[in-house]
């Protein structure tokens, strides 16, 4: 009985100067093959200049049910945004 190839998450840098972005996942026996597969599957139309692959089981994610306690506290801190402050027009661009 064959053993199934492990799952990898694929990240692609679309252009120089941009972050790598998650584009999807695929199966491959090892990291080297994962990169090759990622090239064939996710960059057939010049979508990238660099690829990262990470074993899916190495990713730790935040817990969806704790979304509230995790992210809500930042909502009330509106003073972190520049628009919180009124600057008179006479001052010019700031």
């Amino acid at each position: 009985m064959s053993s199934e190839w492990p799952l990898w998450e694929v990240f692609i840098r679309g252009q120089h100067g941009l972050n790598h972005r998650h584009v999807g996942s695929l199966h491959a026996p090892d990291a080297e093959m994962a990169i090759r597969h990622a090239r064939d599957v996710y960059t057939r139309r010049n979508e990238g200049v660099s690829i990262w692959v990470v074993p899916s089981n190495q990713i730790t994610a935040s817990v969806p049910s704790e979304k509230g306690p995790m992210f809500d506290p930042s909502k009330s801190k509106i003073y972190r945004h520049p628009t919180f402050y009124d600057i008179p027009d006479e001052v010019g661009h700031m």
């Binding site: 064959s2 199934e4 190839w5 695929l26 199966h27 090892d30 599957v41 969806p64």
Partner: protein
Amino acid sequence: MYAQMVKSTGTMKTREEMDERERAFQDRIDAGEKIEPQDWMPEGYRKTLIRQIGQHAHSEIVGQLPEGNWITRAPTLERKAILLAKVQDEAGHGLYLYCAAETLGVSRDEMTEKLHDGKMKYSSIFNYPTLTWADIGAVGWLVDGAAIMNQVALQRTSYGPYSRAMVRICKEESFHQRQGYSIMMKMASGTPEQKRMAQDALDRLWYPSLMMFGPSDKDSVHSAQSMAWKIKVSTNDELRQKFVDQTVPQAEYLGLTVPDENLKWNEEKGGYDFSEPDWQEFHDVLAGNGPCNADRMAARRTAWEDGAWYRDGLVAHANKRAAQRMAAE
């Protein structure tokens, strides 16, 4: 379409019959929120999605066979390169979809085995043969055209990974339809014999293409729950009507005749009236009795079995390399 007659698990519940979690879930769907793999979901939602996405994935993979048949016989090197690129895309589309299904807790191998055991289905359309080069044109034009119609709508489906796979696929798929139409234009403006081939391809593939959208809404027993969960976002008949309205003028441009005596513009509804396909034939093909069902499944099983040594070999190599690295540390 690529997923026809997907059985929906669970009977439709009214709001009063739902428990608190189910109600909260339905509220998120109604608010247009996407459901993600880690989120709680009703068991029926999960099972229906696995069936639909799995069937969709299988269709992409089996769909390579009728076209693969013509790669070595393409009339020019350019057409061959184009067809090869298209068939390669279909493999990629299958992969995106298998990965989306896997986020629901089923493995790709499990789905593959179910397909091979006849426990999962793929679209009825791929059980028809591609007899001439014009069929490759008609497949791109009609079959991919019908697929796009469905997939564009599915970009709005409620399950995040499925929706994202659809966005990706739609981006790539438009070339498939155009290359098909380009073949049809060439054939239809060629010698009288070539034009006859184009007409013959349209004659044979028109009704099977209409069947891709699945049974008529009045006979579509599984649709209501899937629509409520936004696993499906348009009804079969809505999509079929859209497809006919879009395709008829394209056939006229080619100077070809859609094989339907009842085809007529209906000013009142702003769309064509047309004949329904033979639903008995549709059910026969789905049940395994189409012209190519046995061939398709045999080809899939052979590819899977003959490729086992390669998959195993790569795993053995990866394990050996990992062991060497461990020893070196």
